[in-house]
Amino acid sequence: MKYMTSCAVMALLAAANVAQAQDGYFAGKTVDVVVPFGQGGATYVSAKFLEPFFEKHLPGNPEVSVIDRPGGGSILGANWFQQNAKDDGTTLLFTTSSTTTPFVLGQNGVEYKLSDYRVAYSHPFSSVAYVSSDISVNSAAEIKNANEQLRYGGISAAASDLPSLLSFEVLDLDVNSILGFNGRGPVRLAFEQGELNLDYQFTPVYLTQVVPSVEAGSAVPLWTGGSMEGGVLKARDSIAPELPSVYEVYEDMNGTPPSGVEWDAFQAIASITYAYGLTAYAHPDTPQEVLDLYAAAVEAINADPEFQKASQEVTNGARLNAGPETEQAIKAALSPSQEVKDYLHTLLTEKFGVRF
């Protein structure tokens, strides 16, 4: 009860603040960006990368402070956010599919109500599939002619590897998925050592680690997860515009566009993993005015030449997203149909031995 009252008071205060000083709403405030992973991880580094730009472009130039809360495969940090987030837009949960997938699957221990949250901003986290040049596959179309059993390495089926595994289902590939690695770094080492021959890596790692192997002739890039176009995950990704999306690869192979529950499941999970891979969530009661401020800041950041230069280096020029359309797409992906949920449960239980 006490909690409810204090919430109501805070909401009132927040609303008063918004009305009072719209242009300098964040003046003198600190925006806590909670990252439910350890320092030095990809999410933490991305949050740090965005930090100065939000400090510069949010009205009132708040101090942005990135806080790491690792544990429970990101569930602990997200649960903490559920209990402690302020509803004035000064606490954000900046996270990846490691948080969204357990929510969508309804796993034990998830206390956060992700689909109720508001979306402050989002950044794509593109991913590129590539194979070893030893298996005589030169393009996506030849993937089924590999002269070796395809071996993919991952961490765990029910977390960040899910979209990759679903893409194999969509494309109907016979892949031996070896799960149980420590992280994507060790997976890449095993790929370089020749123990694995099919891998997915996210943008910055792809650009700095895989591209040199491609240039040296030891790796062949095949496709990307794709990016959203009119609500379908079919467009090419700006990280590697020369590569087709999974959607296109399917079309090439089968002559028809992908459909059915496999595709729906892939699109739901892959869009929150890739297209909206890094998303900053806010408390459900955050006033719309504050979210509009974030959307305006995102627009200003995207137009900032400094940001453009930095993002060209790190992500091949990816842009931030915000606003109603982005929020809608994320919320849709967070609440897939019962059919998709059932499919995911059956697949994970029967093929990967996951228990719910």
């Binding site: 933490y44 809360r69 029910a158 095993a190 280096e313």
Partner: protein, 645 residues
């Protein structure tokens, strides 16, 4: 190459950069000495500051901190017997035993010098990393990594101690603790009791702090106002230098073990330290002094842990795969400065690579010198009654533990494992094999599973695997031949019993309790295990199967030898209860009031300080603890029932 090395050296010798390098070093030194806080805490506390510096200075500051932690932690381990960081647990066992015999200077001297050599070996490896280490890292595929873990476990068997049943049961218990959390082989969460906290398994820091640190502090508090024995003297470094020189090859071999530990991604310094310690035991003819103050144990452990943290940087800069937890943060810092480590790093930024080499080399030497200089002064602190030192120590451990996830679970787990450590200590169950089992459980299972999936059984004949296996087999064969020639009866494998030297002493009631507790745990584990996928059942069953048999046997023996002697340790038991009560109180009403009360109880009642001095000292500690919480950006626990403070 040479001109890059020289230009990097002159870059580093700019006054501002040297200043921040040594600034980072001092922070690392302090955090190395604080039990439970180590490289990770030091680097994360420095991280916000590096953004005010230029790239070379910022990175030098972090390297200064990283490369000193495993030198200065020797001081705490030797003087107080609580490991300054998990990787110096062997030093705590041997060094503290030596210190109690009045030979602290010897232990510290060897520890510092071995750390320095370890650091320099690490720096050399980083230097040659440029052409050589890359291919070596690539040669270490999953089968080779699995063999490394097996070698570690075989070496660890040297630590079983005099009582075979208890030693093996302790090792099984450690492996069992290591199985808690996500199974690598299939999507099972094992033994988590539905607690999100346990989804990641136990944190190494908390296990090491609980089992060794808390148990020692309880003894310190029970001694209370008194000083056990005479004050520790740190004088006469000569013996230390001589011991170091005698054991120089052991130090170098251990440093090389440490380097390989660093190459393996995500295996920290603890694993390689124990492996090096096991190597020291195996390569020493007279094993009777291990656990009672064997200088070779210190030389090996300290040589290895420093080499590991530095060679952790090799996979970090060559492949962007952090070799250990502190290296992971360093990698993040590299990203923030716009460096993307990878195959191109060496050709694109040779100066930066050499700057790193020089930073760690310089810190290793200067840091060891400073440790030599400050140790005599720090040793005087041990003349202060133990109770007075224990009070801040226990709170620092709480903060150290709280760094893992910043939830109450960390604090509960610290005291729960502390209770386990205390019980094991008094039940005469050796804790070293338990910790080794815990450290090696995860990599062993993971690499076994990955290897078998990728290679089937063909991995057994890989050249790398055979070479590593020869490390186990050749000494066994040679030993067998020697024994055969000597025609002696079998030499007992039993080497050392760390616990006796650490002032444990067997309490029969506690012994029986421990055996019953372990039996329950193992039987429960066996029952829950039935519900797992077969792949995730295999590994825990290797620990639980023998564990049940051993612990039931120990129950039987405990019943036969039972004597009602619980009262002997009643005073320590009260302290344990008080600490657990403190944990519960923090959960219920927040950290402020329970901490103040615990401090008052420890200082005024246990340490028998005078009211005013006690109050002033207590206030200073209290403020210090609050500041430390603030610096580490952890919000202190808030009461779950109602919050005061």
């Amino acid at each position: 190459m040479f001109e890059h090395a020289m230009s990097a050296l002159s870059d580093l010798f700019e006054p501002m950069r040297l200043l921040v390098l040594f600034g980072g070093m001092l922070v690392g030194m302090v955090f190395g000495m604080l039990p439970g806080l180590g490289g990770v805490a030091a680097v994360s506390i420095l991280l916000p500051f590096i953004y005010y510096l230029d790239d070379y200075s910022g990175l030098a500051m972090l390297l200064g901190a990283v490369s000193i932690v495993y030198t200065s932690d020797t001081i705490t381990s030797v003087l107080l017997g609580a490991p300054g960081s998990p990787a110096s647990a062997p030093t705590a066992i041997e060094g503290y035993a030596l210190a109690k015999k009045g030979r602290a200077a010897r232990a510290l001297g060897v520890g510092f010098l071995a750390s320095m050599v370890g650091g320099l070996v690490g720096a050399t490896v980083l230097f040659v990393a440029i052409p050589v280490a890359g291919p070596i890292v690539l040669l270490l595929s999953t089968p080779e990594l699995f063999m490394f873990a097996v070698v570690g476990l075989v070496f660890a068997s040297s630590m079983i101690g005099e009582n075979l049943a208890k030693g093996l049961a302790a090792a099984c218990l450690g492996l069992f603790l290591g199985a808690v959390g996500p199974a690598q082989a299939a999507a099972d969460f094992r033994f988590t009791f539905g607690q999100v906290y346990l989804l990641d398994g136990f944190s190494l820091t908390i296990v090491a702090l609980g089992m060794f640190g808390v148990a020692e502090v309880i003894t310190m508090l029970s001694v209370g106002g008194g000083i056990s024995g005479e004050a520790m003297k740190v004088a006469g470094w000569k013996d230390g230098f001589r011991d170091f020189w005698v054991n120089k090859w052991l130090v170098i071999r251990s440093a090389i073990i440490g380097v390989f530990g660093g190459f393996v991604p995500a295996v920290g310094a603890s694993a390689s330290t124990w492996v090096a310690y096991g190597h020291a035991i195996r390569s020493t003819k007279d094993k009777s002094q291990f656990g009672k103050g064997e200088i070779r144990g210190i030389a090996a452990a300290e040589g290895a842990n420093n080499a590991t943290v530095i060679s952790d940087l090799v996979p970090t800069v060559l492949f962007s795969v952090p070799g250990g937890p502190a290296a992971a943060i360093f990698l993040g810092a590299l990203f923030s400065f716009g460096y993307y480590p990878g195959p191109r790093m060496i050709t694109e930024h040779p100066d930066l690579m050499f700057l790193m080499v020089w930073s760690v080399a310089l810190t290793s030497v200067v840091g060891a010198a400073i440790c030599f200089a400050i140790s005599p002064a720090l040793a005087k602190l041990t003349r202060i009654p133990f109770g007075i030192i224990a009070a801040p120590l226990i709170l620092i451990m709480v903060i150290g533990a709280y760094q893992s996830t910043s939830t109450m679970g960390d604090i509960f787990m610290l005291f729960a494992l502390g209770a386990l450590g205390w019980v094991m200590k008094h039940a005469d169950w050796p804790r070293a094999p338990a910790l080794v089992g815990f450290v090696l459980a995860k990599p062993m299972e993971q690499y076994f599973w990955l290897t078998n999936q990728i290679h089937g059984w063909s991995w057994v004949t890989r050249p790398g695997v055979l070479i590593i296996a020869s490390v186990i087999i050749i000494p066994l064969v040679l030993g067998g031949i020697r024994k055969y020639r000597a025609r002696k009866d079998a030499v007992p494998v039993a080497d050392a019993n760390a616990e006796k030297a650490m002032g444990g002493g067997h309490n029969h009631s506690v012994g029986l309790f421990m055996a019953v507790l372990a039996s329950f745990a193992f039987v429960y584990g066996a029952w829950e295990m039935m519900g797992f996928n077969p792949a995730s059942r295999l590994f825990p069953s290797l620990a639980i199967g023998p564990g049940i048999g051993l612990s039931l046997w120990l129950v039987y023996r405990g019943l036969r030898e039972y004597r009602p002697d619980l009262g002997r340790d009643a005073s320590e038991l009260t302290i344990l209860a008080a600490l657990i009560f403190y944990g519960v109180a923090v959960w219920a009403i927040g950290i402020t009031v329970p901490t103040a009360l615990l401090l008052a109880w420890m200082l005024l009642i246990r340490a028998k300080m005078r009211l005013w001095t006690g109050l002033i000292y207590g206030t200073v500690i209290f403020v210090f603890i609050q500041v430390l919480f603030g610096l580490l950006r952890g919000d202190a626990p808030i009461g779950a029932l109602f919050n005061i403070g």
